[in-house]
Symmetry: D3
Subunit: 241 residues, 6 copies
């Protein structure tokens, strides 16, 4: 079993989940998308991942604000409101009879292309919306045993390239960073920013607790994390008291 | 109709093509891939595009050498030989009765993931191979009318980030560059390297002919183009004579 | 009429203003400087722009402190005191009978050169001081209609080149940035810093109000603006209360 | 007397030269330009300097090609042909009865501004053309005694800022580099590129002769010098023989 | 006599000090280390300098924490505890009968190499510990006369090269910066960071007092100074009151 | 036994070598240098390593030219001629009765410091010259088994920091790169330049032979290697024939 910050306990219920693709529900093995989808062809899509906890979609507003900001920054018009997207998610959860301990991945790609191409003008459908809900309970392993990190030679880039703060479908460089870590025998990759300062792990933001202080990197080169923002908020509040 | 370097004449035969997905053939509208495919989820895949000209797959060796190099650089093991991949392509072309004027896109993604994640350890299948062959005859428009370029603020990054020389499924930043160009009324984007020097167009390498000299950028920040290499080779040979 | 942050209402009184050149007053059309002036030849000069409001030169101390700092950073000795320069300005305003709604541009160049050259050793006069006072009332257009910005590919440089914080006569790159914006149909240019982060507009500092928060860039790559400093001061004060 | 690469022998004939400003001739002391000229206000202009040698304007085509390229890169339309500009220069030389040993500086600024501003839309005249011809015979001092160089902390920037290859009126940073050199007791400044490699002197391109080899910097961060190109051409030719 | 921030009054007692090398005491002239020592061969060692004031080793904990952090960052295992190292220092001071006004330099190199090489695997001893205690009373000169600084072209690098925050035996570039300053007639070098912002002096951190405010650089490119941290702490405390 | 490009066969004769320190000869264990030596204290020294092959010091001129260039670039005056230094080396070899298969390390540090300091003004002796001759026959292992490389996160810096082309005593960052490689289970470190391109191994220049072509990095960020230059010369010559 892999070992990392995203460790989850094996849960056989996930074999039978229903996945929503443009509002239609499919069993896991039938959940497919056109090979002309822009996300598949050129990583042209954005996504959010959030948790369902005791019936509540945690920090839903923050996630949807970020999704709409991401859409703006990649020039994608979302042809539905936040309420409508919430309804899609709720409908998917309902169909799966899920109420707790669920991780929901919402993916929005630009749509079906006429031919394999980067060109957004060749998109012949509206955005494709895929919602994958899965039962995920964090394994205690990561907390108990800790994880090992390997500093990758793959860096977090500047925002004038592929903005490293963007939650998108183009993440091959992060996969490469993780592969370096795995090949070196570590669990996850620690990534440096363009100047060589520590920025983030490949798939999780990075914090150090040093003598009672919580340290993290500047936000300039890491994922614009919602949990990250909450941690910082809690630390600041706690610091003042 | 869009106007750019990849302009192709509309060809109705493309409506009826068969697409190969892991050696099975599907009509265009049924050609689908799992939403757990690594290419769809995180742009984790590599591809080549080549032409069938009078029955010959042009520069096939160069394309396959580059594909195998790409696979190595993203840590993907290809469980087939170059001969076997050639056979897959030929079989697809044969099924489509195609012999000339065809553009073949070969896409190899890491495979099906157990759950949406960057983590290559969570891949539960071998690589997925998709082959899309389409009739494409270059429109004369681009040559006759020329195209307009817009210099994008999106840059070509360093190789220590997402290597800009890599032919892969993570190309959202190139889409962003092109969107800037389109919004500014141009046909394609001209992209600068990290130092602000001209590097390449978003989807085509860039050459200038200036008073009988052919100029192009350094190869450090642009696609490692096969046509590009051939043009340079021709220019060098011609220069010596 | 152009549309931008510096929009001013047309004011016919400006046709008849007197301009001070080294303490002599000239009508607008006769206000001329030697073609051997260092400012004209190589942009070798510094300037300030301030407002006369109800008889008061607003933030005069801040402007003069900045002017003297600018002079030091370009190695120019100012052969007059702040009081003497104030007297020059007051004398110019008095000659123009101006008491309110006036924008005063004070320009100090290194002086007359013996021959066209960068070389400060070839300066054969003391600094040339030009004072242009004009009636300027901000047009309501900018506020009411807003302005459109275009992100330029021209960047704010590092302080080890031409320091982007310096209020000087060498601003061709900012003109270039604005020209890009105009050609793209926008009103002004938004400029990025060397790392691709938003820094400033070409001729005005940049602020965003986002959900009640005022955001601006780091001060490292933008004009060392006096209004900017006042805005930040007001925001900080307001934040604490 | 200053000592540097541009050393010229004192020549009293220069006291009586006629300078051309928009085709009108003025004695040196009366040669003046509006304080609303874009070159004076914001360094918004371009120039060339060439020599009259035995009645010939040396490398005239190269200089004018560069001037027109500079104009294009700063978005300035030149409302005259190369032939017309040649005529202006010849007329000026004729009025001065100059036939040999003359250095001609041709300066073209965007024009008169309505008010002090960067904004090209506020230009209310066509370009201003100033031609200054002076007798200049290189002093033998530089060759005989050599000159001393000081490495400045002011760098040559990237082309995405103020392009260091551009022959323009915004050169304050080069003045600053030279001032550092002078203050340190040297004759001229040696300037490094953005990576710290030697690029050029502040006002002259830089060559080293080392054991019979001629070395110079990459052309990326130094003035796009015509003499430089000729030197390189000569070296290449000589190398092949 | 040299003049700089480290000026000390000549003290003849220093002629007779005893120096500790791996717990053995040697007179100054006999204090020698193998030419196979890693510090001598390739600057492979770390050090601390602290003061003995009225019998107290000032900020000892801070210095030793930093030493252990330095050791970790260069992959050196220290085979003694902080208490044991304190004992070594105290023993040295005792042997010298020193109780006040003493500057103690503690140097720990990786050890003796089998042959001249960078390779830590060729180290055939444990770390070498050298302790040099000297009487040093700051000369009043620096405070009274001030010192002159020269801005060096040698920069503070990124932490992905030789980390400029590290207190180590590889300091040749800082020597080079100082040599530039001395050659230019100054007392010490002011060094810029990779972006051209002021960072630090070559051997002392840099502070400016400007109108009652204390300014210093970001900590990213300067020595991780203990005195620096104390000054900032005092300023922050004082600011709040 | 360590395994790397510098592998040498164990040779017991090296136990009894005589080492020259400022022209005096010492057995290996008595070969010591003052702890006030600038090389030991702050890595302030330069060195060369060359081979004695059949009585000839191979490429001696190249090595000494480089040594004198290094001395100039660190502001060190060498108080002896190349002939005198050759004599010192020959005398050392003679004393050791060495005639073949010898690796000679010549180290020149700035000299003895009055007190531990970077300051060259505190040097109270001339340069210290240490010559270590050792029998070294390359182990066949490296050639037969190859070595494994690990790409380090420690980069080759720009020449405006500690020039990576300099053969000097400050090499801690290269030690750090190698330690990363060792910890990851590799033999040596591959180091990238500031832009993320492959530059060099930590202690050996890097070449790839790819389909009959020899590839190496630009010379900008790697050791200015004499063997490297010879390899390139041989390749160029061979290419023309």
């Amino acid at each position: 079993m892999i070992h990392g910050t995203h460790n989850a306990i094996e849960d056989s219920r996930n074999n039978d989940i229903l996945i929503s693709i443009n509002d239609q529900l499919f069993p896991r093995n039938d959940a497919k998308i056109s090979v002309f989808d822009s996300g598949y062809l050129v990583g042209d899509g954005i996504w959010e991942a959030l948790r369902l906890h005791h019936g509540v979609l945690v920090f839903l507003d923050d996630h949807f604000n970020r999704l709409w900001t991401s859409a703006a920054s990649v020039g994608m018009h979302l042809p539905f409101s936040k309420e409508e997207l919430t309804a899609k998610v709720m409908q998917t959860l309902k169909a799966n009879k899920m109420t707790d301990g669920v991780h929901v991945r919402i993916m929005v790609t630009r749509g079906i292309k006429k031919t394999p191409s980067q060109d957004p003008r060749l998109t012949i459908s509206g955005p494709n919306v895929v919602i994958i809900p899965e039962y995920k309970t964090a394994s205690k392993d990561s907390k108990e045993k800790g994880i090992t990190l390997f500093t990758s030679t793959i860096r977090r880039g500047s925002p004038d390239y592929l903005d490293p703060r963007l939650n998108c479908h183009s993440k091959l460089h992060e996969v490469q960073a993780l592969i370096q870590a795995i090949q070196a025998g570590a669990d996850e990759a620690l990534m440096l920013d363009i100047h060589g300062f520590v920025s983030t792990c490949n798939a999780t933001n990075f914090f150090i607790v040093n003598k009672g202080e919580v340290w993290t990197s500047t936000s300039k080169y890491c994922m614009n994390g919602i949990t990250r923002a909450k941690v910082i908020e809690v630390c600041n509040t706690s610091n003042k008291n």
